[in-house]
Symmetry: C2
Subunit: 189 residues, 2 copies
């Protein structure tokens, strides 16, 4: 079985509130995290919200990094979505935990785009782009697997870099959706 | 228990390969999906890769939508990350399944930023931003919950919009990381 993408979802708690509310700090941390993970940065987009919080995305050639911060709760949600075997997403995760001063962190890793295939899947070979070329669709046996395979790791910050810890069974609960009344309003300009 | 964010992860299989390789189609579909979900669009960033594939992010006031397409595998990975109770992420999901011609789709929903608190959490009230203001950190009892609560739903395309189906237990497996040799190279300019 092969997956096209690897998606780390970080929950950063008890962070440095001032760091989470600084566009410069959050942006610089995310860009540096991408570089340390060996990513090729394609685009960087960050916005500051009113009255608190930063949202930002670093688009990389290997997919993206995203962050949303809630300084008032000292919490940040970070995604590191990567493909290819060069990128080291856990390096980005470790760096962000440190930079944002997270006293607690947890990670969920999801495999994205799982196909039944033992051999590595040919993927985005370099080469000249042929405009209007018909896309040759690869004949890939379709995996009959239940949705995504979820690897869940509870990682105390002290032990980050976050080893992927297989968990025997994840108790799944229906969690009430947050009733968050007011949408985040971007600061003008 | 309250969560600050709601994160839908869509796996779209057996899509229209030409649609997945068209920057215009993918971008327009994502922007329209954001609008239909009642999101406030803040920024739109899309890139075409060589030789195939589109990556893009729609930054919204309520967080973000992201997509990565692999036309050669007729596969797209979509994220719809939202906060607030106005946004309807499942509407975006349904629309994208249709627009990209996905014959199969699955969804994982994650609650992001879970705190132990029965009452709704005050969230991003509108108001003038005070530059340099010290962030008042809310006193929120910290949830001692195991990592994220994962809601997994296997959803045949026919039944989308995707109801959140609580699953009793999710079998967790360690899935070998894909050995994807070549990174996606952005098309110049």
């Amino acid at each position: 079985m092969q997956a096209l993408g690897r998606h780390l979802l970080l929950e950063l708690f008890d962070c440095d509130a001032e760091a989470l509310n600084s566009l410069e700090t959050v942006k610089a941390s995310m860009v540096e995290a991408a570089k340390r993970a060996q990513a090729t940065i394609v685009d960087v987009v960050f916005h500051e919200f009113n009255p608190f919080g930063i949202s930002g995305v670093v688009v990389i050639a290997e997919s993206h990094l995203a962050i949303h911060t809630w300084p008032e709760y000292r919490y940040a949600a970070v995604d590191v979505f990567s493909c290819g075997d060069v990128l080291q997403p856990q390096t980005a995760a470790t760096y962000l935990v440190e930079q944002l001063g997270a006293a607690r962190a947890s990670v969920v890793e999801l495999q994205r785009g799982i196909f039944l295939q033992a051999a590595p899947m040919p993927h985005k070979p370099a080469g000249a782009r042929v405009t209007g070329a018909k896309v040759p669709v690869a004949k890939v046996p379709v995996a009959k697997v239940p949705v995504a395979r979820v690897l869940v790791a509870r990682v105390p910050v002290a032990t980050v870099p976050v080893a992927r810890v297989p968990v025997a069974r994840v108790p799944v609960a229906r969690v009430p959706v947050a009733r968050v009344p007011v949408a985040r309003v971007p600061v003008g300009g």
